[in-house]
Symmetry: C2
């Protein structure tokens, strides 16, 4: 199903990202040591790095240098990592397992987990400005704006708040969609758009197409997540499975049922692929990633 050529592209980009993150995160022997060790614990050696992969793939459409794409992708990944740490805290989802390891507050303590998330967010913005990433500094400021908006109260953090308010409620499909557009969609959209910012100028039409792709893939990612949460065993997921139903959270599976959820994910994949028509070979990796995201088993 997955082309060998795509597999080696993914592996190469994942290695780049891993190395960059290991270099950018303060060493565990720099004070405050416990905080730095915990930051490395949650970020390194785990995760599919879907967001940096999207950044790298989108950057190929704009012929952007790999080094820049990896840095921009790492900034998004740090935001994602901080959100997982805070999301797992007892006052939120109260989860004990993440990427097959004890969650941060279990391995360290709650206060450390809180500070780890806070410091990872700061580090994401620092990473995004320490080296030239775009054609000019003004565009790079726009990248900061994009990431900040995608992370904040009208993006990811807002999605978490909508999620909190939805527990135990029956949501309509549009309400559920609104929640996910914020909770996961905003950051996935930012991953794609940041990649495009690292390269040559694109036309408004081209940027519009990337945006449509990003929105479809972002929602597909969440629908597939819900399907996997209902179907896959904990060992495969690396996080506690069946958690959504147990916590009485509305999901695509609970509202649409399993079969219709899978069909919806497939429709979104087709929408994403349709948006890429006209890019030709430049969008090869984006196409393969859409397949990867919808057809993954973990």
């Amino acid at each position: 199903m997955i082309a060998p050529d795509f597999q080696s592209w993914v592996a190469s980009r994942q290695q780049h990202v891993e190395r960059a993150l290991a270099t950018m995160l303060p060493a565990a022997d720099i004070a405050p040591r416990r905080l730095h060790a915990a930051m490395r614990y949650v970020v390194l050696g785990g995760g599919k790095r879907v967001r940096p992969l999207l950044t790298c793939a989108a950057g190929e459409v704009a012929q952007a240098p790999v080094e820049r794409l990896v840095l921009a992708g790492c900034a998004v990944e740090l935001i994602h990592a901080y959100s997982l740490v805070h999301d797992d805290l007892p006052c939120m989802d109260d989860d004990v397992l993440r990427r097959g390891k004890p969650t941060c507050h279990v391995q360290y303590d709650e206060a450390t987990a809180l500070l780890v998330g806070d410091a990872l967010q700061s580090l994401a913005f620092q990473l995004l400005v320490e080296q030239p990433l775009a054609r000019d500094a003004g565009l790079q400021l726009e990248m900061v704006r994009l990431l900040a908006a995608a992370s904040g109260s009208r993006g990811m953090a807002g999605g978490q708040a909508i999620d909190l308010a939805a527990v135990g409620k029956t949501l309509s499909v549009p309400e559920l969609e609104l929640m996910h557009i914020h909770k996961t969609g905003a950051l996935i959209r930012a991953s794609v758009l940041l990649g495009a910012h690292c390269g040559v100028a694109l036309s408004d039409t081209e940027r519009g197409r990337l945006d449509t792709y990003a929105k479809s893939v972002g929602l597909a990612f969440q629908v597939v997540d819900d399907v996997l949460d209902a179907e896959a065993p904990t060992a495969t997921l690396g996080k506690t499975a069946g958690k959504d139903a147990e916590q009485n959270k509305p999901t695509y599976v609970s509202i649409l049922g399993l079969a219709r959820s899978k069909r919806f994910a497939e429709e979104l994949r087709e929408q994403a692929l349709a948006a890429l028509e006209g890019f030709g070979d430049r969008a090869l990796r984006l196409r393969q990633l859409a397949d990867f995201i919808v057809l993954r088993k973990f």
Copy 2:
């Protein structure tokens, strides 16, 4: 003691800052409403706004436009506000009173308070890039880098981690100083340097002087905080007094005693003022702020 002219300058800048914050924070009727209401609850209508005042005062040294200074100052204030919300959480200081009102997790709930802090941090960076604030975009990227570094694991968040590790321990004066250089000093230093970035170019010597001023004032601020925590009643402080001693936290008062702490604050004020020599009238507000910070009673 405080010149009437200085009082009206402070009042005018505080009003500017309050208005800008009220405009920049999403309205409470925009979804997610509870999150936005809580963000407004913690940021608006309270606080001395010492950090934005320092930004405005430092900007006068570089003849920077007030509008820019107010925006840069608001970005720092949002970082400060988020840190207070997270600091008050049960897993940290577990405090119920802040600026004379119930803390965020008491008024709302813990999960909301967590997200309020997270979203305020994102908003701070968004604010710093939405409008031109410096002579060129490259300098504005440097402002983002400054604020991110001051907020992260080697700045404010790192200071909180050192603070956590110090509970119940006996620290030496240099260890205590290291903690505060991170915990409050880094952000106060950023306040001053960001203000200078909004104006005309300064020489290396001039920037060095501002930095010395910022470091002295930042530490003085903390020493005075410790003195007030030991001396002032809760009603005057607007936060729970005597908390440090109760939580067995090392403070300047617990290590140096009250009299020597006051003398140390005075020495730091003199150092701060000495650093400003050579700026002439341009540093009037910075001078007055150093006095205000050390001589304040709340």
